[in-house]
């Protein structure tokens, strides 16, 4: 009975968009079907050829229409307010688990204002910088032994090049910061960009001089740029101030001034994000070199510098040693997780690199915490929300979840390459390496209103958007299902005791135990120390056969178009069963999953129009995701 009810609307959904699916009976799994459906629902616009979408206006993640629409305003306000209260409560309780869970939900922490409060808590900056006093929070004197003081005080008006000992990587930093802020924010005035690039250089050089044992890697500047954009409002260009500010704000994928709450009272103590009149930032940035630096003395800048230090030392330290061993270790783990999560995709992926050893296509993802490859700000902020709330190994699981989520689309495109792709699988490499547009979904906007961004001057993204909460839910599920330090992943055989994946536990312990001895100095001492286990560079016993595979590979993917609707319907049922089984195994309440599942069916039956069904289903699916996240959390706890 349920089947009959499910099948019809599903087919309807598919007809509303494009009924081509990279699916076959062999590949159909509950997860894959859900992913397909999610991808489909995540994109109301029909699939078009990349060239057709290349000039389509609009910015992924930006929702300029919503905030101007009265209809959506109320709903938006409600969920944001509720979410902010939830976040505030969690912050008050220092409840890391709650923050972790919230970070994965549609809407994440709710607002930029919340995010800015949460990140320092997730990174526990108060612990490391307590000595300087939380309010002043001028950074503790340097740990480089030179006694240099890198305070972010107002008098520090030169870009750190006048203080401390020059770090050998500074010239590389300059080469890269001069090429920064390229993908986002969009449409920056050249002068504005120049100021921001100088800020970024200042930020990075400051961290490197303070912790000289860290090495800079290309891509570190991308990570830092996300922190920077989160805490430092975009400087004012010299002319046409307000119009360009508002445009830039929108292009950043943010809500307009005041955090999308224009003209509304905010219920909580959260201060409105009055970018345009921020005392720290507005006036000093009108152009003259002498005043440009002044905002670096503000509280935002101090927080930024602290976060930059903690992220560098505690979260991405493995990438900041002399070599790439840590990253190779993580890629090996990624390969194993992918193999566990989706053996078919793992086999497929092993054929697309010139040498089928490690999934190098994902290197920049994990090295840069996705900041290099995501092309708008809001999604990468949400991903940082998620990652900062978890063990750094979560980046590996997130990478795998993204691969699994985009698999159906990828296979469809691979199929489109035809015989050429069959002859030369490395042509598929760009399909693997390219992230799909990851949509920063919220409870009131579970799918994009507008077309995904296409970098007008660059190659368009061939993928349809995938909602982040879906990917996050899958990531959490994979982390529980395949713990990194247990069979079959056995990452503990690869990563050394000096890796961030181990020291994260000490970091967490220090939240409760102030005498735990975990400080930034401890972290400094772990740079380049036992990042990987000795001998872990050797090939896996299950390593794919070497070179000849590329010549031999013959792959085909069937696309049974007319069966797609049925397949998805069946998949949905399987997922329902899966969720049920999973919830049960995870100790979740039976009535819980039954309730959710009943809601799913109820929504299908109860709606009328096809589009309405799609949207309604989507809301419910979001609920299901929340439920799964909840179950996962229960299982962990």
């Amino acid at each position: 009975m349920a089947n009959l009810q499910l099948e019809e609307p599903s087919r309807h959904l598919l007809c509303a968009s494009q009924p081509t699916f990279a699916l076959s009976k062999g590949t159909l799994s509950a997860r894959a079907s859900l992913m397909i459906l999610a991808a489909r629902l995540g994109s109301p616009a029909p699939v078009t050829h990349p060239s057709a979408t290349a000039r389509r206006p609009g910015v992924m993640g930006a929702r300029p229409n919503r905030s101007e629409s009265n209809g959506a305003k109320t709903a938006s306000k409600d969920w944001v307010r509720r979410r902010e209260m939830l976040v505030d409560q969690a912050l008050e309780d220092d409840d890391l688990e709650a923050l972790k869970r919230i970070s994965a939900l549609p809407g994440g922490f709710g607002s930029d204002a919340s995010r800015k409060k949460v990140w320092p808590v997730l990174l526990n900056t108060a612990h490391y910088f307590a000595a300087a006093g939380p309010s002043q929070a001028t950074h503790a004197t340097s740990m480089n032994g030179h006694g240099q003081h890198h305070s972010e005080s107002a008098e520090d008006d030169s870009p750190d090049v006048n203080s401390g000992t020059e770090h050998p990587d500074e010239s590389q930093v300059l080469l890269d910061t001069k090429r920064s802020f390229v993908s986002y924010p969009k449409h920056l005035a050249p002068e504005t960009k120049r100021v921001m690039q100088a800020d970024l250089q200042h930020l990075i050089v400051g961290v490197l001089r303070e912790y000289p044992s860290l090495s800079y890697f290309q891509g570190f500047h991308d990570i830092m740029s996300v922190l920077y954009l989160t805490y430092i409002p975009i400087p004012e260009p010299p002319r046409s101030r307000s119009s360009s500010r508002n445009r830039v704000q929108r292009e950043r994928g943010e809500k307009p001034v005041n955090g999308g709450m224009t003209g509304e009272k905010r219920g909580r103590s959260a201060s409105p994000r009055r970018v345009a009149t921020h005392p720290d930032t507005l006036s000093p940035l009108d152009g003259s070199a002498g005043t440009v630096e002044r905002h670096r003395g503000g509280a935002n800048w101090k927080t930024l510098r602290q976060l930059a230090a903690v992220v560098s030392l505690c979260r991405i330290r493995d990438a900041m040693g002399k070599g790439l061993e840590g990253m190779m270790g993580l890629l090996r783990i990624l390969k194993r997780v992918l193999k566990a999560a989706d053996p078919e995709l793992a086999r497929f992926s092993s054929h697309i690199s010139p040498v089928p050893t490690l999934p190098f296509f994902a290197l920049s993802w994990i090295l840069c915490l996705f900041s290099h490859d995501v092309d708008s700000l809001e999604p990468i902020q949400r991903m940082f929300d998620f990652l900062l709330a978890r063990n750094p190994i979560s980046a590996i699981y997130l990478a795998v979840a993204i691969l699994v989520a985009k698999k159906p689309q990828m296979f469809r495109m691979a199929k489109g390459l035809g015989s050429e792709g069959e002859r030369d699988p490395s042509l598929l490499h760009p399909l693997f390496a390219r992230l799909p547009p990851l949509y920063a979904d919220t409870p009131d906007a579970p799918q994009p209103d507008i077309a995904p961004s296409q970098r007008a001057d660059d190659d368009p993204n061939p993928y349809e958007p995938i909602p982040l909460s879906l990917v996050f839910a899958l990531t959490d599920k994979l982390m529980v299902q395949y713990p990194w330090d247990e069979a079959p992943i056995r990452g503990d055989e690869i990563m050394g005791e000096g890796s961030v994946v181990y020291s994260y536990e000490r970091e967490i312990a220090a939240r409760k135990d102030f005498e735990s001895g975990w400080t930034l100095e401890t972290a400094v001492q772990l740079v380049d120390k036992e990042v990987v286990k000795p001998g872990s560079g050797e090939a896996d016993e299950d390593e794919e056969p070497s070179l000849p595979v590329i010549k031999r590979l013959r792959w085909r993917i069937r696309v049974p178009r007319d069966k797609a609707g049925t397949a998805v319907a069946v998949g949905i049922v399987l997922v329902g069963v899966g969720i049920a089984a999973y919830s049960t195994r995870a100790g979740g309440s039976r009535s819980d999953w039954r309730r959710w599942w009943a809601a799913v069916i109820h929504e299908w039956v109860g709606t009328n129009s096809g589009v309405g069904r799609a949207r309604e289903y989507w809301r419910v699916w979001v609920g299901v995701v929340e439920n799964v996240v909840g179950s996962v959390r229960d299982a962990v706890v």
Binding site: G26, T27, Q172, V182, L324, E344, D373, P430, R558
Partner: protein, 207 residues
């Protein structure tokens, strides 16, 4: 009916000498001032993987599959993964820098290729930023001489103006063997399955 042969080409060279810019000029005939919208390449061949086909004559076309690379020294250890399987390499340096910097680095890349790449690899040494020849610090003769000694192709070019860019890729195309490169065997071109491949074949295979 023209015949198209595919070749893999890898770009190497120090950071910010213009590797990605040369590719963009060649493939899209575009130049982006890096200050505006030119991203740093991270790792290898992410979105920077591009293809471009050039016609040698009415009957012969060469398709380049171009793998761009990151310039920072720390990524150097990854390069062999890509150039070991390449048919051609373009090694780029910046003529506006003194020879002991990016030109010297280009020379070490040549040695690296001579040591580890396929002996038949076609290497093109390129002095980029010819549009800035007024501030040239590495002479044409120096580059030419080194290329001659090592048996490399040599060109100077400007990704910004486009000067010399297509020409250098054409020269590589002409130098490449007319036969299909070693990475494509006749068997694989016909998609013949090799024994033992069954386990390797994705389950979606309809065979």
């Amino acid at each position: 009916m023209s015949r198209t042969t595919s070749f893999k080409l890898v770009l190497l060279g120090e950071s910010a000498v213009g590797k990605s810019s040369l590719v963009l000029r060649f493939v899209r005939n575009e130049f982006s001032d890096f200050r505006i919208n030119h991203r740093v390449s991270i790792g290898f061949a992410g979105a920077a993987f591009l293809t471009q086909t050039v016609n040698l004559d009415d009957n012969t076309a060469v398709k380049f599959e171009i793998w761009d690379t990151a310039g920072q020294e720390r990524y150097k250890s990854l390069a062999p993964i890509y150039f070991r399987n390449s048919n051609a390499a373009v090694i780029v340096y910046d003529i506006t820098q003194p020879p002991e910097t990016s030109f010297e680095k280009a020379k070490t890349w040549v040695r690296e290729l001579q040591r580890q790449a396929d002996p038949g690899i076609v290497i093109m040494l390129v002095g980029n930023k010819l549009d800035l020849s007024a501030s040239r610090k590495t002479s044409t003769e120096l580059g030419k001489q080194f290329a001659d000694e090592e048996g490399l192709l040599f060109a100077e070019a400007s990704a910004k103006s486009g000067e010399g860019v297509e020409g250098l890729f054409m020269e590589i195309a002409r130098k490449l063997p007319a036969n299909p490169p070693p990475t494509r065997t006749p068997a694989s071109r016909q998609g013949v399955r090799v024994e033992g491949q069954a386990e390797e074949t994705p389950s979606a295979c309809n065979c």
